[in-house]
Subunit: 364 residues, 2 copies
């Protein structure tokens, strides 16, 4: 593919060829951009080059855009060094916190007219260039946080970058960004860890009574602690504020439960929290950025054999109903399970009936 | 099917024809047991009868077993009334807390030699007889909590009931049961609600940055508050204890984050919690009751069209690899997504290669 007519971005240096940096490089290469790669670790550059992400940076030119893809606490220093060498006309970063690098960049005297802080919301549970994908950002939110002094050109260039990567640009202030990710990502992570920590000390009997609920609540707590330490340190106060709100709610519930002596009025705190929880889950946006919606669930019994699921999904496809999501619920101890097919509510009856006609067990 | 030779259970009365009671009735009917149905709500009995769960109870005989399927706070009173009328030779219940009904039953002077408290771990997000399934308990843990005075016959009968329903009997003390479900079910539920409550007050911008993590953490918080109030009230102290441990961990993290002024040593609490969280998630038992194991994930790009998923899963089936689980990750804003196929680690390469050969985009 050739570069877009009239585009700002013909050449880019990616500084830091980890998961995000290399994925940006791969996406830009597919759009015909000339991409240079830089990393403190020569092996990471070699691997990214081997993946076709670009050529090695030799600091002998000025490119259109520098993408700084290093941990949050190193962004500002890196920006300063790149600007001193006149590396690029425009600069951005991809760190998952935004106030810290912007504050440090101002303190260091960086040129903020040429810098637009950014954050693609597209992490994976794996890291490093080998996990990179050119389509990592497709349709994902990509926050960008221009300051008041930003130049038109810098703004245009970074929005173009997001578009080239297939991301969905979301303009927010750095403060709002950091509060937002504290709520929807950082504090939920810590809270999941606190629930999972109880399992670390639980009896085998207790673990044997685990169901799908606790699995879902704790899944993200399996992520790399070192990676998360950097994120939490870089967004300390917003995360602390959300955690304190969680603590206040949980403390009120614990107090109510302790004071409960057959007195249901002690439980108004608990009812209140549970109801707010229901309202909160209903506000999470749905697929395709549209409003949140509730899918209908059609449960189907399946055996645990190769091809069983394929036959089911194929049968579902023959009914003409689109499957929005699938969950497999395995019956522990038996080679039997239930598949839960999530569909638009109006399509549930059609799917259930169609599957029954094709011989599947669909409990009513 | 005819009753098992030498079995204790030929006739049963189910008291309370909600989701669990009606599911027990349906399972027993499939084993040829004569089942009688009773509920304070005549409509619920009619519906259960219509589903083939049994016949209406007329209190004119003594059956082998009475299954008390009413909310926790009503179990003991119900047991007393049934025993006064010599309704059955053996009694059990299915409430999700166990100390409360046993304590109340002792206080009321019930005959505990004929009663074995039970709890099948098989809830659904829906309730009522219409949601009942005869296979609801297949392979699921079913806790039972005999007291010291229990008769051999009562014990044998209740274990037989669990077997007839396809459950996996787990013998625990009532105290241990209640502590266990506080850890793996009740406290995680309240904690998920506390995270979801933050979303109820979050900006649209914050919600727009939501990813899969916060969706998983908060999913169970969408459940019916009224149902959960009964459960939490009935297990108040064990749940309070677990929540207090969660609060202690979260408070320590919030303090560390607040005191952090570039001083990483303030963060040892946080590292410690994240690491304990990782260990905790690793202890959740895996499929088929075996040890927890980590599946490999193969990601495949798919379009959002009817039949697309069917074609993918069929192609996967042709590689001979068994799919353990599927997650669909939709790219918000675009009709494109990634399917994550969970497979045994040793099968991942075979699957990825086989799918590529069949023309699927499998990012490396």
């Amino acid at each position: 593919m050739t570069p877009i007519e009239g585009a700002e971005i013909g050449s880019v240096v990616v500084v830091g060829t980890g998961l995000i940096g290399t994925s940006v490089a791969l996406a830009l290469r597919e759009r015909g951009v000339r991409v240079f790669l830089s990393d403190r670790d020569p092996a990471a550059v070699r691997l990214a080059r081997g993946l076709g992400a670009g050529e090695e940076w030799t600091a002998d030119r000025t490119v259109d855009l520098a993408v700084i893809a290093v941990p949050p606490q190193f962004v500002a220093q890196q920006l300063l060094e790149l600007q001193k060498r006149e590396t690029a006309r425009v600069y951005t970063d991809v760190a998952s916190v935004k106030v810290l690098p912007l504050t440090q960049a101002a303190q260091l005297g960086c040129d903020l007219s040429a810098f637009v802080a950014g954050h693609p919301l597209a992490g994976r549970e794996r890291s490093g260039p080998a996990a990179a994908r050119s389509d990592l950002f497709l349709g994902r939110p990509w926050a960008y946080c221009p300051t008041e002094v930003v130049s038109e050109r810098a703004l245009r260039t970074v929005v173009e970058l997001i578009g080239m990567c297939g991301g969905n640009p979301v303009r927010v202030s750095a403060q709002e960004h950091d509060r937002a990710v504290a709520i929807v990502s950082h504090a939920p992570h810590v809270t999941a860890a606190a629930v999972a920590a109880r399992l670390a000390e639980a009896s085998e009997t207790a673990l044997g009574l685990s169901g799908q609920g606790v699995r879902d609540v704790t899944r993200i707590a399996a992520s790399d602690p070192a990676l998360w330490m950097g994120i939490l340190s870089g967004n300390a106060i917003p995360v602390a504020e959300v955690i304190e709100a969680v603590v206040a709610d949980l403390s009120a519930v614990a107090r109510s439960l302790r004071s409960l002596a057959g007195d249901q009025s002690a439980m108004t705190d608990v009812t209140d929290l549970l109801s707010r929880g229901v309202r909160g889950t209903a506000r999470i946006p749905g697929k395709h950025g549209g409003p949140a919606r509730t899918y209908a669930v059609v449960q189907v019994l399946i055996g645990d054999r190769p091809g069983e699921l394929a036959r089911l999904v194929q049968a579902a496809g023959q009914t003409g109903v689109n499957i929005e999501d699938i969950r497999l619920e395995h019956a522990s101890g038996l080679p039997l399970g239930a598949a839960e097919l999530y569909v638009q509510p109006e399509a549930a009856a059609v799917l259930a009936e169609g599957l029954r006609e094709r011989g599947w067990q669909v409990p009513t």
